[in-house]
């Protein structure tokens, strides 16, 4: 007992020594500071991005002849002619991401159901990492896969007259393969998180495996599945390399997926790759596109959080 007291109070047994005051702990303060710094770095980065995008966009929108209304509703994007309408870039972005979701949503969900409900544990252990390897392939490889495999395939099926060499369908389909692991992995997590008690309840009522998977597990996981899809959509909208390589160079206002059309991200990467004079209207317009892209994906993320919260409340 006495040694403990001695250690704690530095050998002084007088009542003043039993102080409950704060003691300086420099290392702890240092580590706290470091952790705090790491925590707010991402916040400041985001703020910095918003500031930079906003500043340059403001310059763009204050250029004579450019209006926000014209930017949002114009069907031509011709910087040389002074036409800055985002719609051609937006439609092609929607085409490629829609095409990507057409591939990734059903296949990803099916793969997730298989992995979570049907595969044996050992098979799942082998399959899931393999699927995730797909996510590690550099997107530039996917881009050339689209150009040298998917495009010839589409041209062979639909005819060389219908399908242009650069087209949004090819880029979108391959982008679907790119985000497939993301969808299946997140969807599988959502399905696996459904408590086993629910599966047992359904099996106990004489449900078949398919009935359990589709009628019990899927509805119970709907909030996680919605989150998976929405994350995949914002990933597809922002994806750059595949569309830059395979979708075409040059904005075109079209809803035909077999025609070449440049997406928002594809346009930014092509123009900024050329020699562009700083502070020109071309240069500033890229930031307006970037800001628009940022707002769209941020809005999707916000909506997805609300959707997930709403669905969660209904299923729990």
């Amino acid at each position: 007992m006495s040694t403990i007291t001695n250690n704690a109070s530095g050998g002084n047994l007088s009542p003043e020594a039993l102080s409950l005051k704060h003691r300086p702990r420099p290392v702890e303060a240092l580590i706290y500071g470091f952790l705090f710094f790491c925590g707010i770095v991402s916040i400041f980065t985001t703020l910095g991005i918003v500031y930079e995008l906003g500043k340059e966009s403001l310059l763009f929108f204050s250029t004579p002849g450019v209006t926000i209304w014209g930017f949002l509703t114009g069907t031509r994007w011709q910087p040389q002619a002074g036409n800055f309408g985002i719609l051609p870039l937006l439609t092609s972005t929607l085409l490629t991401s829609g095409m990507a979701m057409l591939v990734a949503a059903p296949l990803g969900l099916a793969a997730a159901i298989y992995l979570s409900e049907y595969a044996t544990p050992s098979l799942r252990k082998a399959l899931k990492p393999t699927l995730e390897v797909l996510a590690g392939v550099p997107t530039v490889v996917y881009g050339y896969f689209a150009l040298t495999f998917m495009t010839p395939l589409l041209r062979a099926i639909f005819g060389k007259d219908t399908v242009e060499i650069y087209n949004t369908a090819s880029a979108g389909l391959v982008m679907g393969i790119l985000i497939l692991p993301l969808v299946s992995s997140m969807a599988e997590d959502a399905l696996s998180a459904v408590p086993n008690a629910l599966r047992e309840a359904a099996y106990g009522l004489g449900a078949t495996k398919l009935e359990v998977a589709v009628q019990v597990v899927l509805p119970a996981a709907v909030s996680g599945l919605a989150a998976a899809f929405l994350v995949a959509i914002s990933r597809a909208i922002g994806e750059t390399m595949i569309v830059a390589i395979a979708a075409g160079a040059g904005p075109r206002f079209t809803f035909n997926p077999f025609q070449a059309a440049e997406t928002m991200s594809g346009h930014i990467v092509r123009i900024s790759g050329g020699d562009l004079s700083y502070n020109s209207i071309d240069y500033n317009s890229l930031f307006a596109i970037g800001l628009f892209l940022f707002i769209v994906t941020a809005a999707i993320n916000l909506v997805s959080q609300q959707v997930v919260r709403h669905l969660k409340r209904n299923t729990q």
């Binding site: 008690a197 047992e200 309840a201 009522l205 004489g206 078949t208 509805p219 209904n314």
Partner: protein, 286 residues
Amino acid sequence: MLSSNIMPYAQSNIFSKTGEQEEAAGASGFAIEARNLSIHYSAFRAVKNVDMAIPERKITAIIGPSGCGKSTVLRSFNRMNDLVPGAHAEGDVIFMGQNIYAPQVDPVEVRRRIGMVFQKPNPFPRSIYENVAWGARLNGFKVGLGRPSMDEWVENCLRKAALWDEVKDKLNQSGLSLSGGQQQRLCIARAIAIQPQIILMDEPASALDPIATLKVEELMQELARDYTIIVVTHNMQQAARVSDQTAFFTVDADRAGMLVEFGDTRQIFTNPKDSRTEGYISGKYG
């Protein structure tokens, strides 16, 4: 999907299935019978050489210390153990004159006739109504001449589970909005909605407070008039209170569970034949 002769409520009055059950049990008078049953989880033998014949329309309690394989035996009666990777059974479980572990038997068909209520109430995240109706629909419940509507059937099952008066005004609310005891009775209503011949209950009251427990026990005795009930319980007083027959399991030296004694509940609790049974019920161990 199911042929009508084995679908209890496809042809006859579904509100009384007495005739069906007598037919089902056949001449033996036993609802289900384990013969030299051993159950393994991969290499581990969880239960060995169980022989027990469960009388029909009685409550049979399975008691014993933790790890003695009571739940394993219970879950082997409707092939729920099939869902555990690596689990397999040796020996026979005879139900309606057939070995449910015979290779041609579909476990889904077995579970449609042997329902189950679990330790933790596990209603589906759906409405109270849907919780009851889903299983019935799954099992080919059809509305037709001389048969009740689904609404009537749901009401009937909820009444039998002594839950109707508490939920009749909120059938569209989530089953998860109910209290634990109500949820468990909803699970019982859900189980009887598919008209099983046997209801397996795996510690159905262990997650409930004493009042809810009492309600579930009363309900079990009510249901035993129509159904064969097999209940696993940790609670010896519960076994003594509700059951007609009691099986006492224990763990052998090789860590496998085994059946020690099976007989009339009164006899097991007042005059056990085996010293291990006596030690357990008198609280000397376990």
